[in-house]
Amino acid sequence: MPKSSPMVHEARLLGILDTAADGIIVINAKADILVFNKACEAMFGYAASDVLGKNISLLMPSDFSVDHDRYVSHYLETGERRIIGIGREVRGKHADGTVFPLELSVGEAQTPDGRQFIGVIRDVRSRKAVEQRLNQLQAQLVNMARVQAIDEMGAAIAHELNQPLTAVMLYLQAVIRKTSSDTASQLAPQTLEILNKALREAERAGGIIQRMRHSVERREPERQACDLNALIDEALELVLLGHDIEGLQIVRDLDAMLTHVHVDPIPIQQVLANLLRNAMEAVRKSDRRMIKIQSMVSGGQAIVNIEDSGPGIPPDGLSNLFKAFATTKKSGLGLGLMISRSIAQNHGGDLTVDGGGDGRGATFSLRLPLIVGSHEQGIADQ
Protein backbone atom coordinates (compact mmCIF):
# COMPACT_ATOMS: atom_id res chain seq x y z
CA MET A 1 0.00 0.00 0.00
CA PRO A 2 1.43 3.40 -0.94
CA LYS A 3 2.32 5.63 1.97
CA SER A 4 0.28 8.84 2.29
CA SER A 5 2.17 12.11 2.17
CA PRO A 6 2.28 14.08 5.46
CA MET A 7 -0.14 16.65 3.98
CA VAL A 8 -2.69 14.01 2.97
CA HIS A 9 -2.31 12.41 6.36
CA GLU A 10 -2.93 15.72 8.11
CA ALA A 11 -6.00 16.44 5.94
CA ARG A 12 -7.44 13.05 6.82
CA LEU A 13 -6.78 13.63 10.47
CA LEU A 14 -8.49 17.01 10.33
CA GLY A 15 -11.43 15.41 8.54
CA ILE A 16 -11.75 12.90 11.35
CA LEU A 17 -11.43 15.62 13.97
CA ASP A 18 -14.24 17.56 12.33
CA THR A 19 -16.62 14.64 12.68
CA ALA A 20 -15.99 14.41 16.45
CA ALA A 21 -18.89 15.44 18.65
CA ASP A 22 -16.51 16.88 21.25
CA GLY A 23 -14.51 20.01 20.68
CA ILE A 24 -10.86 19.30 19.94
CA ILE A 25 -8.13 21.94 20.14
CA VAL A 26 -4.42 21.40 19.64
CA ILE A 27 -1.99 24.04 20.87
CA ASN A 28 1.79 24.28 20.92
CA ALA A 29 4.04 25.08 23.87
CA LYS A 30 3.40 28.81 23.35
CA ALA A 31 -0.35 28.13 23.58
CA ASP A 32 -0.95 29.04 19.93
CA ILE A 33 -3.94 27.26 18.44
CA LEU A 34 -2.95 24.72 15.78
CA VAL A 35 -6.19 22.74 15.40
CA PHE A 36 -9.75 23.95 16.06
CA ASN A 37 -12.37 21.44 14.90
CA LYS A 38 -15.99 21.99 13.77
CA ALA A 39 -17.45 21.19 17.19
CA CYS A 40 -15.26 23.97 18.62
CA GLU A 41 -16.53 26.38 15.99
CA ALA A 42 -20.09 25.69 17.07
CA MET A 43 -19.19 25.87 20.75
CA PHE A 44 -17.17 29.09 20.71
CA GLY A 45 -18.73 30.89 17.72
CA TYR A 46 -15.41 31.37 15.94
CA ALA A 47 -14.43 29.98 12.53
CA ALA A 48 -11.22 27.96 12.65
CA SER A 49 -9.58 30.50 10.35
CA ASP A 50 -10.26 33.24 12.96
CA VAL A 51 -8.40 31.50 15.76
CA LEU A 52 -5.65 29.38 14.18
CA GLY A 53 -2.26 30.76 15.22
CA LYS A 54 -3.77 32.86 17.99
CA ASN A 55 -3.23 32.30 21.70
CA ILE A 56 -5.77 30.02 23.32
CA SER A 57 -6.48 32.64 25.98
CA LEU A 58 -8.85 34.07 23.38
CA LEU A 59 -11.27 31.30 24.32
CA MET A 60 -11.18 31.94 28.07
CA PRO A 61 -12.60 34.59 30.36
CA SER A 62 -9.88 37.13 31.18
CA ASP A 63 -9.44 36.12 34.81
CA PHE A 64 -8.71 32.58 33.70
CA SER A 65 -6.50 33.44 30.70
CA VAL A 66 -3.91 35.09 32.98
CA ASP A 67 -3.75 31.94 35.07
CA HIS A 68 -3.58 29.77 31.97
CA ASP A 69 -0.32 31.28 30.76
CA ARG A 70 1.05 30.70 34.25
CA TYR A 71 -0.16 27.06 34.27
CA VAL A 72 1.51 26.34 30.93
CA SER A 73 4.86 27.90 31.89
CA HIS A 74 4.70 26.25 35.31
CA TYR A 75 4.17 22.86 33.69
CA LEU A 76 6.87 23.40 31.10
CA GLU A 77 9.33 24.39 33.84
CA THR A 78 8.46 21.84 36.50
CA GLY A 79 6.55 19.07 34.76
CA GLU A 80 3.97 19.30 37.55
CA ARG A 81 0.53 18.49 36.21
CA ARG A 82 -2.51 20.52 37.14
CA ILE A 83 -4.83 19.38 34.37
CA ILE A 84 -2.94 17.20 31.91
CA GLY A 85 -4.18 13.64 32.08
CA ILE A 86 -6.61 14.65 34.82
CA GLY A 87 -9.32 16.79 33.28
CA ARG A 88 -11.47 19.31 35.03
CA GLU A 89 -14.39 21.64 34.63
CA VAL A 90 -13.33 25.07 33.40
CA ARG A 91 -14.98 28.12 31.86
CA GLY A 92 -14.86 29.07 28.19
CA LYS A 93 -15.66 32.36 26.47
CA HIS A 94 -17.85 32.47 23.39
CA ALA A 95 -17.14 34.95 20.57
CA ASP A 96 -20.11 36.98 21.83
CA GLY A 97 -18.50 37.25 25.27
CA THR A 98 -20.74 34.69 27.01
CA VAL A 99 -18.85 32.66 29.58
CA PHE A 100 -19.98 29.03 29.78
CA PRO A 101 -18.95 25.90 31.67
CA LEU A 102 -17.06 23.17 29.86
CA GLU A 103 -15.33 19.97 30.71
CA LEU A 104 -11.73 19.88 29.54
CA SER A 105 -9.35 16.92 29.26
CA VAL A 106 -5.83 17.63 28.15
CA GLY A 107 -3.29 15.23 26.68
CA GLU A 108 0.28 15.94 25.69
CA ALA A 109 2.23 14.80 22.62
CA GLN A 110 5.86 15.14 21.59
CA THR A 111 5.88 15.91 17.86
CA PRO A 112 8.63 16.73 15.37
CA ASP A 113 7.37 20.32 15.73
CA GLY A 114 7.85 20.25 19.49
CA ARG A 115 5.51 19.71 22.41
CA GLN A 116 1.82 19.95 21.67
CA PHE A 117 -1.21 19.80 23.91
CA ILE A 118 -4.51 18.30 22.80
CA GLY A 119 -7.62 19.51 24.55
CA VAL A 120 -10.93 17.65 24.32
CA ILE A 121 -13.80 19.88 25.30
CA ARG A 122 -17.39 19.12 26.17
CA ASP A 123 -20.00 21.81 26.54
CA VAL A 124 -21.75 21.08 29.84
CA ARG A 125 -24.29 23.90 29.62
CA SER A 126 -27.22 21.57 29.04
CA ARG A 127 -26.12 19.31 31.89
CA LYS A 128 -25.71 22.35 34.11
CA ALA A 129 -29.13 23.62 33.12
CA VAL A 130 -30.68 20.26 34.02
CA GLU A 131 -28.81 20.23 37.34
CA GLN A 132 -29.96 23.75 38.07
CA ARG A 133 -33.56 22.94 37.18
CA LEU A 134 -33.42 19.85 39.38
CA ASN A 135 -31.94 21.86 42.23
CA GLN A 136 -34.68 24.46 41.90
CA LEU A 137 -37.33 21.77 41.71
CA GLN A 138 -35.87 20.00 44.70
CA ALA A 139 -35.75 23.23 46.72
CA GLN A 140 -39.35 23.97 45.74
CA LEU A 141 -40.39 20.44 46.63
CA VAL A 142 -38.62 20.57 49.97
CA ASN A 143 -40.29 23.87 50.76
CA MET A 144 -43.74 22.73 49.71
CA ALA A 145 -43.22 19.41 51.42
CA ARG A 146 -42.35 21.22 54.62
CA VAL A 147 -45.54 23.28 54.54
CA GLN A 148 -47.56 20.22 53.64
CA ALA A 149 -45.82 18.16 56.32
CA ILE A 150 -46.68 20.70 59.01
CA ASP A 151 -50.31 20.59 57.90
CA GLU A 152 -50.41 16.86 57.69
CA MET A 153 -48.55 16.47 60.94
CA GLY A 154 -51.20 18.61 62.56
CA ALA A 155 -53.85 16.35 61.07
CA ALA A 156 -51.92 13.25 62.18
CA ILE A 157 -51.56 14.50 65.73
CA ALA A 158 -55.23 15.43 65.75
CA HIS A 159 -56.18 11.96 64.59
CA GLU A 160 -53.82 10.12 66.93
CA LEU A 161 -54.89 12.15 69.96
CA ASN A 162 -58.56 11.83 69.18
CA GLN A 163 -58.90 8.27 70.39
CA PRO A 164 -57.29 8.59 73.84
CA LEU A 165 -58.95 11.97 74.35
CA THR A 166 -62.33 10.48 73.50
CA ALA A 167 -61.67 7.74 76.04
CA VAL A 168 -60.65 10.27 78.72
CA MET A 169 -63.80 12.35 78.13
CA LEU A 170 -66.10 9.33 78.19
CA TYR A 171 -64.51 7.88 81.34
CA LEU A 172 -64.84 11.21 83.14
CA GLN A 173 -68.44 11.57 82.04
CA ALA A 174 -69.14 8.04 83.17
CA VAL A 175 -67.81 8.77 86.66
CA ILE A 176 -69.64 12.11 86.89
CA ARG A 177 -72.95 10.67 85.73
CA LYS A 178 -72.69 7.53 87.84
CA THR A 179 -71.84 9.41 91.02
CA SER A 180 -74.46 12.09 90.37
CA SER A 181 -77.29 9.65 89.89
CA ASP A 182 -76.33 6.97 92.38
CA THR A 183 -76.69 8.20 95.97
CA ALA A 184 -74.72 5.24 97.31
CA SER A 185 -71.59 6.23 95.45
CA GLN A 186 -71.91 9.99 95.66
CA LEU A 187 -68.67 11.95 95.69
CA ALA A 188 -67.76 14.88 97.85
CA PRO A 189 -68.80 18.09 96.05
CA GLN A 190 -65.15 19.14 95.81
CA THR A 191 -64.14 15.89 94.14
CA LEU A 192 -67.04 16.18 91.71
CA GLU A 193 -66.03 19.75 90.95
CA ILE A 194 -62.47 18.59 90.18
CA LEU A 195 -63.80 15.88 87.87
CA ASN A 196 -65.96 18.44 86.07
CA LYS A 197 -62.94 20.70 85.68
CA ALA A 198 -60.92 17.78 84.28
CA LEU A 199 -63.75 17.10 81.82
CA ARG A 200 -63.83 20.75 80.75
CA GLU A 201 -60.06 20.69 80.16
CA ALA A 202 -60.38 17.53 78.10
CA GLU A 203 -63.14 19.21 76.09
CA ARG A 204 -60.87 22.23 75.62
CA ALA A 205 -58.17 19.93 74.22
CA GLY A 206 -60.83 18.43 71.96
CA GLY A 207 -61.70 21.93 70.73
CA ILE A 208 -58.04 22.59 69.88
CA ILE A 209 -57.87 19.34 67.93
CA GLN A 210 -61.03 20.22 66.04
CA ARG A 211 -59.66 23.63 65.09
CA MET A 212 -56.40 22.05 63.91
CA ARG A 213 -58.35 19.57 61.86
CA HIS A 214 -60.61 22.20 60.35
CA SER A 215 -57.71 24.37 59.22
CA VAL A 216 -56.24 21.39 57.34
CA GLU A 217 -59.55 20.13 56.00
CA ARG A 218 -60.41 23.49 54.49
CA ARG A 219 -57.45 23.25 52.13
CA GLU A 220 -58.35 21.80 48.77
CA PRO A 221 -55.65 20.52 46.43
CA GLU A 222 -54.81 23.07 43.72
CA ARG A 223 -55.51 20.84 40.77
CA GLN A 224 -54.24 21.34 37.26
CA ALA A 225 -53.98 19.06 34.24
CA CYS A 226 -50.68 17.23 34.72
CA ASP A 227 -48.75 14.67 32.75
CA LEU A 228 -48.57 11.99 35.42
CA ASN A 229 -45.74 10.18 33.62
CA ALA A 230 -43.69 13.38 33.57
CA LEU A 231 -44.30 13.74 37.31
CA ILE A 232 -43.09 10.17 37.77
CA ASP A 233 -39.95 10.79 35.71
CA GLU A 234 -39.15 14.02 37.51
CA ALA A 235 -39.64 12.36 40.90
CA LEU A 236 -37.39 9.54 39.74
CA GLU A 237 -34.73 12.00 38.63
CA LEU A 238 -34.92 13.73 41.99
CA VAL A 239 -34.60 10.52 43.94
CA LEU A 240 -31.75 9.15 41.85
CA LEU A 241 -29.84 12.41 42.07
CA GLY A 242 -26.71 11.91 44.11
CA HIS A 243 -27.37 8.26 44.90
CA ASP A 244 -25.32 5.24 44.06
CA ILE A 245 -27.37 3.71 41.29
CA GLU A 246 -24.85 1.18 40.10
CA GLY A 247 -26.55 -2.16 39.70
CA LEU A 248 -29.99 -0.59 40.21
CA GLN A 249 -32.42 -1.54 37.51
CA ILE A 250 -35.34 0.81 36.92
CA VAL A 251 -38.17 -0.59 34.82
CA ARG A 252 -40.69 1.98 33.59
CA ASP A 253 -43.94 0.80 32.11
CA LEU A 254 -45.94 4.00 31.69
CA ASP A 255 -49.34 4.40 30.08
CA ALA A 256 -49.04 7.14 27.45
CA MET A 257 -52.69 8.13 28.02
CA LEU A 258 -51.98 9.70 31.40
CA THR A 259 -51.08 13.15 30.14
CA HIS A 260 -54.01 15.08 31.61
CA VAL A 261 -54.62 13.95 35.15
CA HIS A 262 -56.06 16.69 37.35
CA VAL A 263 -53.91 16.75 40.46
CA ASP A 264 -51.93 19.19 42.56
CA PRO A 265 -48.50 18.41 41.09
CA ILE A 266 -46.23 19.30 44.01
CA PRO A 267 -47.79 17.05 46.68
CA ILE A 268 -48.33 14.24 44.17
CA GLN A 269 -44.69 14.43 43.16
CA GLN A 270 -43.86 14.40 46.85
CA VAL A 271 -45.81 11.15 47.21
CA LEU A 272 -44.06 9.62 44.19
CA ALA A 273 -40.63 10.71 45.40
CA ASN A 274 -41.40 9.31 48.84
CA LEU A 275 -42.49 5.94 47.41
CA LEU A 276 -39.45 5.78 45.12
CA ARG A 277 -37.12 6.70 47.97
CA ASN A 278 -38.64 3.94 50.10
CA ALA A 279 -38.26 1.49 47.20
CA MET A 280 -34.59 2.41 46.82
CA GLU A 281 -34.11 1.92 50.53
CA ALA A 282 -35.90 -1.44 50.38
CA VAL A 283 -33.63 -2.84 47.64
CA ARG A 284 -30.41 -1.42 49.08
CA LYS A 285 -29.26 -4.73 50.53
CA SER A 286 -30.87 -7.00 47.95
CA ASP A 287 -28.84 -9.10 45.53
CA ARG A 288 -31.12 -8.02 42.73
CA ARG A 289 -31.90 -4.33 42.91
CA MET A 290 -34.91 -3.58 40.78
CA ILE A 291 -37.67 -0.98 40.97
CA LYS A 292 -40.59 -1.31 38.62
CA ILE A 293 -42.80 1.70 38.02
CA GLN A 294 -46.05 1.12 36.22
CA SER A 295 -48.74 3.64 35.41
CA MET A 296 -52.13 2.69 34.00
CA VAL A 297 -55.80 3.52 33.81
CA SER A 298 -58.28 1.24 35.50
CA GLY A 299 -61.81 1.75 36.74
CA GLY A 300 -61.77 5.50 36.06
CA GLN A 301 -58.61 5.91 38.08
CA ALA A 302 -55.01 6.61 37.26
CA ILE A 303 -52.91 4.00 39.05
CA VAL A 304 -49.20 4.14 39.72
CA ASN A 305 -47.69 0.92 41.03
CA ILE A 306 -44.19 1.03 42.46
CA GLU A 307 -42.79 -2.42 43.03
CA ASP A 308 -39.39 -3.18 44.51
CA SER A 309 -37.27 -6.31 44.60
CA GLY A 310 -36.64 -5.96 48.33
CA PRO A 311 -37.60 -8.47 51.02
CA GLY A 312 -41.24 -7.30 51.27
CA ILE A 313 -43.01 -6.01 54.36
CA PRO A 314 -43.71 -8.50 57.17
CA PRO A 315 -47.48 -8.88 57.89
CA ASP A 316 -47.13 -7.48 61.42
CA GLY A 317 -45.52 -4.34 59.96
CA LEU A 318 -48.35 -3.75 57.52
CA SER A 319 -50.95 -2.64 60.06
CA ASN A 320 -48.77 0.20 61.33
CA LEU A 321 -47.33 1.18 57.98
CA PHE A 322 -49.55 4.18 57.37
CA LYS A 323 -49.72 5.30 60.98
CA ALA A 324 -47.87 8.35 62.22
CA PHE A 325 -44.67 7.98 64.19
CA ALA A 326 -44.52 4.24 63.51
CA THR A 327 -41.26 4.16 61.60
CA THR A 328 -38.77 1.30 61.58
CA LYS A 329 -36.12 3.54 60.09
CA LYS A 330 -33.34 5.10 62.10
CA SER A 331 -34.08 8.57 60.80
CA GLY A 332 -37.37 10.34 60.16
CA LEU A 333 -40.59 10.61 62.07
CA GLY A 334 -42.42 7.89 60.20
CA LEU A 335 -44.75 10.43 58.67
CA GLY A 336 -43.88 9.83 55.01
CA LEU A 337 -46.39 7.12 54.19
CA MET A 338 -49.04 8.58 56.46
CA ILE A 339 -48.70 11.96 54.74
CA SER A 340 -48.57 10.30 51.31
CA ARG A 341 -51.80 8.43 51.96
CA SER A 342 -53.40 11.57 53.29
CA ILE A 343 -52.38 13.50 50.12
CA ALA A 344 -53.80 10.71 47.94
CA GLN A 345 -57.05 10.67 49.93
CA ASN A 346 -57.26 14.45 49.80
CA HIS A 347 -57.26 14.06 46.02
CA GLY A 348 -60.13 11.59 46.26
CA GLY A 349 -57.74 8.68 45.72
CA ASP A 350 -55.86 6.32 47.99
CA LEU A 351 -52.49 4.76 48.68
CA THR A 352 -52.43 1.03 49.38
CA VAL A 353 -49.75 -1.62 49.68
CA ASP A 354 -49.25 -5.25 48.86
CA GLY A 355 -46.58 -6.26 51.34
CA GLY A 356 -45.18 -9.08 49.19
CA GLY A 357 -42.86 -11.51 51.01
CA ASP A 358 -41.70 -15.04 50.06
CA GLY A 359 -39.31 -13.66 47.48
CA ARG A 360 -41.62 -10.87 46.36
CA GLY A 361 -40.96 -7.24 47.15
CA ALA A 362 -43.58 -4.72 48.25
CA THR A 363 -45.85 -2.93 45.77
CA PHE A 364 -47.33 0.43 46.63
CA SER A 365 -50.32 1.55 44.57
CA LEU A 366 -51.22 5.20 44.27
CA ARG A 367 -54.73 5.67 42.92
CA LEU A 368 -55.99 9.02 41.68
CA PRO A 369 -59.40 9.67 40.19
CA LEU A 370 -59.53 10.85 36.60
CA ILE A 371 -61.76 13.88 36.89
CA VAL A 372 -64.43 13.48 34.27
CA GLY A 373 -63.88 16.03 31.54
CA SER A 374 -63.93 15.41 27.80
CA HIS A 375 -60.39 14.06 27.66
CA GLU A 376 -60.46 12.22 30.96
CA GLN A 377 -63.77 10.66 30.09
CA GLY A 378 -62.08 9.44 26.93
CA ILE A 379 -59.32 7.86 28.95
CA ALA A 380 -61.73 6.38 31.46
CA ASP A 381 -63.78 4.84 28.67
CA GLN A 382 -60.76 3.19 27.20
Partner: protein, 113 residues
Protein backbone atom coordinates in the same frame (compact mmCIF):
# COMPACT_ATOMS: atom_id res chain seq x y z
CA UNK B 1 -82.77 -1.78 74.28
CA UNK B 2 -79.29 -3.17 73.93
CA UNK B 3 -76.52 -0.87 72.76
CA UNK B 4 -73.96 -2.60 70.56
CA UNK B 5 -70.55 -1.01 70.17
CA UNK B 6 -68.28 -1.85 67.23
CA UNK B 7 -65.02 0.00 67.88
CA UNK B 8 -61.46 -1.28 67.53
CA UNK B 9 -59.70 1.26 69.76
CA UNK B 10 -59.66 -0.44 73.18
CA UNK B 11 -59.74 2.86 75.12
CA UNK B 12 -62.70 4.26 73.21
CA UNK B 13 -64.47 0.91 73.22
CA UNK B 14 -64.19 0.44 76.99
CA UNK B 15 -64.90 4.05 77.95
CA UNK B 16 -68.05 4.00 75.78
CA UNK B 17 -69.15 0.82 77.49
CA UNK B 18 -68.40 2.22 80.97
CA UNK B 19 -70.32 5.45 80.24
CA UNK B 20 -73.33 3.67 78.77
CA UNK B 21 -73.41 1.15 81.61
CA UNK B 22 -73.21 4.06 84.07
CA UNK B 23 -76.39 5.26 82.37
CA UNK B 24 -77.93 1.83 83.05
CA UNK B 25 -77.85 0.60 79.46
CA UNK B 26 -77.19 -2.98 78.50
CA UNK B 27 -74.06 -2.94 76.38
CA UNK B 28 -72.43 -5.50 74.12
CA UNK B 29 -69.12 -4.40 72.70
CA UNK B 30 -67.14 -5.76 69.76
CA UNK B 31 -63.70 -4.77 68.52
CA UNK B 32 -64.22 -5.96 64.95
CA UNK B 33 -67.02 -6.12 62.39
CA UNK B 34 -66.57 -9.88 62.20
CA UNK B 35 -67.33 -10.16 65.92
CA UNK B 36 -70.60 -8.26 65.39
CA UNK B 37 -71.57 -10.47 62.44
CA UNK B 38 -71.03 -13.65 64.44
CA UNK B 39 -72.88 -12.42 67.56
CA UNK B 40 -76.69 -12.56 67.96
CA UNK B 41 -78.35 -10.05 65.61
CA UNK B 42 -79.23 -6.62 66.97
CA UNK B 43 -82.99 -6.13 67.05
CA UNK B 44 -85.16 -3.23 65.94
CA UNK B 45 -85.16 -1.83 69.48
CA UNK B 46 -81.38 -1.81 69.68
CA UNK B 47 -78.82 0.85 68.88
CA UNK B 48 -75.52 0.07 67.19
CA UNK B 49 -72.58 2.46 67.48
CA UNK B 50 -70.22 1.79 64.57
CA UNK B 51 -66.74 3.22 64.21
CA UNK B 52 -66.07 3.94 60.52
CA UNK B 53 -62.39 2.98 60.68
CA UNK B 54 -62.58 -0.69 61.57
CA UNK B 55 -59.61 -2.95 60.82
CA UNK B 56 -61.36 -5.88 59.15
CA UNK B 57 -64.39 -4.54 57.27
CA UNK B 58 -65.01 -0.85 56.77
CA UNK B 59 -67.65 0.73 58.98
CA UNK B 60 -69.76 1.87 56.01
CA UNK B 61 -70.21 -1.77 54.92
CA UNK B 62 -71.21 -2.71 58.44
CA UNK B 63 -73.81 0.07 58.49
CA UNK B 64 -75.13 -1.02 55.08
CA UNK B 65 -75.46 -4.58 56.40
CA UNK B 66 -77.30 -3.36 59.50
CA UNK B 67 -79.67 -1.18 57.47
CA UNK B 68 -80.48 -4.11 55.22
CA UNK B 69 -81.57 -6.36 58.09
CA UNK B 70 -85.27 -7.18 58.00
CA UNK B 71 -85.73 -5.36 61.30
CA UNK B 72 -82.92 -2.84 61.29
CA UNK B 73 -81.70 -1.33 64.56
CA UNK B 74 -80.91 2.36 64.98
CA UNK B 75 -77.37 3.17 63.94
CA UNK B 76 -74.95 5.94 64.82
CA UNK B 77 -71.55 6.23 63.17
CA UNK B 78 -68.52 7.55 65.03
CA UNK B 79 -65.29 8.58 63.39
CA UNK B 80 -61.97 10.29 63.94
CA UNK B 81 -61.40 10.67 60.20
CA UNK B 82 -61.54 13.88 58.21
CA UNK B 83 -64.92 15.18 57.06
CA UNK B 84 -63.92 14.52 53.45
CA UNK B 85 -63.23 10.85 54.16
CA UNK B 86 -66.41 10.52 56.18
CA UNK B 87 -68.45 12.07 53.35
CA UNK B 88 -66.86 9.74 50.83
CA UNK B 89 -67.30 6.64 52.99
CA UNK B 90 -70.95 7.41 53.70
CA UNK B 91 -71.97 8.58 50.23
CA UNK B 92 -75.47 7.42 49.46
CA UNK B 93 -76.58 6.98 53.08
CA UNK B 94 -79.71 8.91 53.95
CA UNK B 95 -80.16 10.52 57.34
CA UNK B 96 -77.32 8.85 59.15
CA UNK B 97 -76.01 10.47 62.33
CA UNK B 98 -72.24 10.74 62.51
CA UNK B 99 -70.55 11.80 65.73
CA UNK B 100 -66.98 12.91 65.28
CA UNK B 101 -64.22 12.18 67.73
CA UNK B 102 -63.28 13.46 70.21
CA UNK B 103 -66.68 12.22 71.15
CA UNK B 104 -68.73 14.16 73.63
CA UNK B 105 -70.71 11.95 75.95
CA UNK B 106 -73.48 14.57 75.96
CA UNK B 107 -73.92 14.34 72.18
CA UNK B 108 -74.13 10.58 72.43
CA UNK B 109 -76.53 10.65 75.35
CA UNK B 110 -78.82 13.09 73.58
CA UNK B 111 -78.81 10.86 70.51
CA UNK B 112 -79.71 7.79 72.57
CA UNK B 113 -82.51 9.66 74.29
Amino acid sequence: MVIHIVEDDPGVNESLRVLLQALDHVVISHSTATALFTAPLPTQDDLVIVDLGLPDIDGASVIRWLKNLSAPPRVVAISGQSQKLIDRALKGFQALTVLRKPLSGDALVSFIA
